[in-house]
Symmetry: C2
Subunit: 211 residues, 2 copies
Amino acid sequence: MARRATAAVKRESAVDVVRDDKFNARRIELAEAALETLGELGFARTSLREIAQNSAFTHGVFHYYFSDKLDLICCCVRHYKAKCVTRYDEVVATATSRDELTEGFLAKLAATLQNEARMHRLWYDLRSQAMFEAAFRKDVLEIDKSLEAMIWRIASRYAEFGGKRPLSSPAALYALFDGLFQSALLKHLAGDKAAVPELLDEVRRLLPTVC
Amino acid sequence: MARRATAAVKRESAVDVVRDDKFNARRIELAEAALETLGELGFARTSLREIAQNSAFTHGVFHYYFSDKLDLICCCVRHYKAKCVTRYDEVVATATSRDELTEGFLAKLAATLQNEARMHRLWYDLRSQAMFEAAFRKDVLEIDKSLEAMIWRIASRYAEFGGKRPLSSPAALYALFDGLFQSALLKHLAGDKAAVPELLDEVRRLLPTVC
DNA sequence: TTTTTGGCTTGACAACTGTCAAGCTCCGGG
DNA sequence: CCCGGAGCTTGACAGTTGTCAAGCCAAAAA
């Protein structure tokens, strides 16, 4: 890990900068591979060797790019964040009416639940891990905040279309939707075909009452 | 595990019944010990030897009383259920007004968050595990249902005092409170002193608007 | 008393874990 | 062309894991 030390040096040469970019790119590549396996097996059952086997590398690389396993997982969490906190922003930006926003949101919600179930169960897994492992807390709390803000943007826009303001706090609103999504995800993974439509119905009914 | 076979036999002698009672009592005793360690370390980091070390027994017993580790954890989950799904029922039964119900509920909520944080983070951990491990799903879904019913009893009683009915579905109501509790728990465990009062404020504000 | 048996311990097993040193390969700069 | 080092692999390490057979001991059964 001499690499991390050079990164701290004030004046880096151009070639060092390039090397650091490559280094970080590989870190992210490895984190992405790790996310795949983590999403498949969950935190408790995922080993470095298993991650490596589902990637183009061998298990030794991870010690070259990460100080230890926690460092890798933290990197995974941070990378995951970037991908998910703007998921609904396009819908918010392009919708021109309440109905359009509603349908766009619901469609994205359903698609997420069906196509990215593994990534989301991992999120819930890691958020639970943060309750035990202090090293995860900072990143997890940050992601939670970002997700809360994302939900708030949707609700605000929705209320705006009706000339109103959301009736509850950002925290309560996020808790509501996150709770519903989590429950639907579990049912969906358990093979409950009704999980997705039930979630959509619930959200469709709820939106006008909270905003 | 010849024991489980005898349990299936139709006509048991009185002595066999006593033996089975002792057997089940010990199972629960071991499950309770396991819950302690699980609440301390979380599912991912808990081994049978660690559980045994925090109990009065040695690691071999667990194979005598449980077919494997999953069997033990399932037993833990089921035992946990019995202890938590009636937590607020006394408050519901004794309250004679909206205010009394509110204050009783909030007090219990705060006490739970402060004194049983470890058991609750374990619940969230195991619920996440259920998204990966099918063996947990049935029990977890059942507990979730029971908890939803518990919240619904509170809300119904609260609404009743106001001569109203809850404004949302049981599922949405549970999602809301569960989401808020989960978020508060994480913040509380992260050392946020404001987590508990913030949760209480939020719930106090929310109750009149949903019921 | 002797025998049996349920309840628990002990110790061993193979597999698996995170970690890391040593060494390989191959590319860029000299 | 050669050489150094970055990037990656290999193999080994010490420790831990779930599992389970063998055996011990006290209490019940004979």
